[in-house]
Amino acid sequence: MVSDIRARIEEAREAVLAGKKSPLYYHMARRQMTPAILARAAGIASFRVKRHLRPEIFSRLKTSVLDRYANALAVTREELKTLPNS
């Protein structure tokens, strides 16, 4: 089960690196959240969260929205926009 979670996080990282998903997708996976949980935690509608998983839309988000995600995921705003190494 642990390996399953790790595999899912690794998958998320690759998807982000390939440009298919936004970094938000990786951070969500790392916190073992689903869009529904993240939506509740950040106070953003789940359809918007799902939309923000697309890189081209995520890159245009304003800071106020990013801050809500950063707060919900317990990362800084800068970290949220990037992928951590490792």
Partner: protein
């Protein structure tokens, strides 16, 4: 067993327990001077249960539970043993302001007043856990003993020793969002009855458990739930892809064995409860039922072993989904018999 001081300066003996909620409940009672074992708390709170809820998805998988809904165990024990218990939940309305701050302030105040406080938390945000236990699950119970510098001293019943928890972590854990939100749920005993009536509490609890398991109108819980899940498991390789079927089965086993020790563990704990009641009432029938419960627990364990082999794809020929489902049906049959007998015995007991 580790000794620790509470905020009131009283010694608190931390016992490792198998299930978080019964452990916390028992510890709260012990702090008030009533000697109650974890199994007893589990039994009196009617903790034994079964439910498979295909329509509530949790990380994309249906929820399977082997114990009662988080929160009910404590309230049932409190009601049945008597005493004054205060529970508090924080609801989010537009007029409620910053509930996170309110929740933490209330907790600090209660600790200063010398209470030990039980909390419901999300297990993912409790950073003192090793990574493999951390996942988004909103039903873990812990006890806060006292406040320390930028954090709290926490007695987690699942761990061997009391640990330190950062205030920030605790705040997140208490007010996590998602399915079954804890909403900062906290509870403490203001006073308890000095001489609780264990006998009548046990009888009520046993009848309640039998009712939940046997006479439910709802096909997903109780024994009907076990049979339903067995049917689903047997069919799963035909209707789902092999990988997905294995994932579902892995989830069932995970809920059984890992999340608060799950199915077999709870059956063993209930057996311990029946043993204790047998001593309490001097009833040999209850002792027999206790042994039967242990035997059922062993079958659940066997089910877990068989399933683990299926998941890891070892022994393809002899270990099949049909066999795993069959074991579950055996459990269902024996548990049905057991609860029917228990129902009869409990009705004849005099409090």
């Amino acid at each position: 067993m580790a000794q620790e001081l509470t905020s009131a300066g009283k010694p608190f003996s931390h016992l490792h327990s198998a299930h978080c909620e019964s452990g916390v409940t028992a510890a709260l009672f012990r702090d008030k001077g009533i000697n109650i074992s974890e199994a007893m708390a589990f039994g009196i709170g009617s903790g034994i249960f079964f439910g498979h809820l295909p329509f509530i998805k949790w990380v994309g998988l249906p929820i399977t539970t082997y114990r009662s809904r988080p929160g009910t165990l404590f309230s049932k024990v409190a009601k049945r043993l008597g005493g004054e218990f205060i529970t508090k939940k924080y609801h989010r309305f537009w007029w409620s302001g910053d509930i996170t701050k309110q929740g933490m302030d209330d907790l600090r105040r209660l600790l200063r007043e010398g209470n030990i406080v039980g909390l419901t938390t999300n297990i993912y945000w409790l950073s003192y856990f090793p990574d493999r236990f951390r996942f988004q699950f909103n039903g873990h119970n812990i006890i806060v003993l006292r406040e320390i510098e930028n954090g709290f001293r926490v007695a987690d019943p699942v761990l061997d020793h009391p640990v330190d928890c950062l205030a920030e972590d605790l705040e997140r854990a208490r007010f996590a969002r998602g399915p079954l939100e804890p909403k900062g749920y906290m509870y403490y005993a203001k006073s308890v009855r000095p001489d609780p009536d264990f006998r009548s509490a046990c009888i009520t609890a046993m009848k309640d458990s039998c009712n939940m398991m046997l006479r439910t109108p709802f096909p997903y819980v109780g024994l009907r739930g076990i049979r339903y899940l067995a049917k689903v498991t047997i069919k799963s390789p035909d209707i789902l892809e092999a990988h997905e079927a294995r994932r579902r089965l892995a989830n069932i086993v995970r809920m059984q064995e890992e999340v608060g020790t799950g199915g077999a563990g709870f059956r063993f704990m209930y057996a311990a409860f029946l043993q204790e009641t047998a001593d309490l009432f001097g009833s040999s029938e209850l002792a027999d039922l206790s042994r039967e419960m242990t035997a059922i627990g062993d079958i659940w364990r066997e089910f877990a072993v068989v399933s683990a082999r299926i998941i890891k794809q070892r022994g393809q020929t002899e270990e099949t989904f049909a066999k795993a489902g069959g074991l579950m049906l055996i459990c269902a049959g024996r548990e049905e018999q057991l609860f029917r007998d228990l129902d009869k015995v409990a009705r004849n007991l005099k409090s």
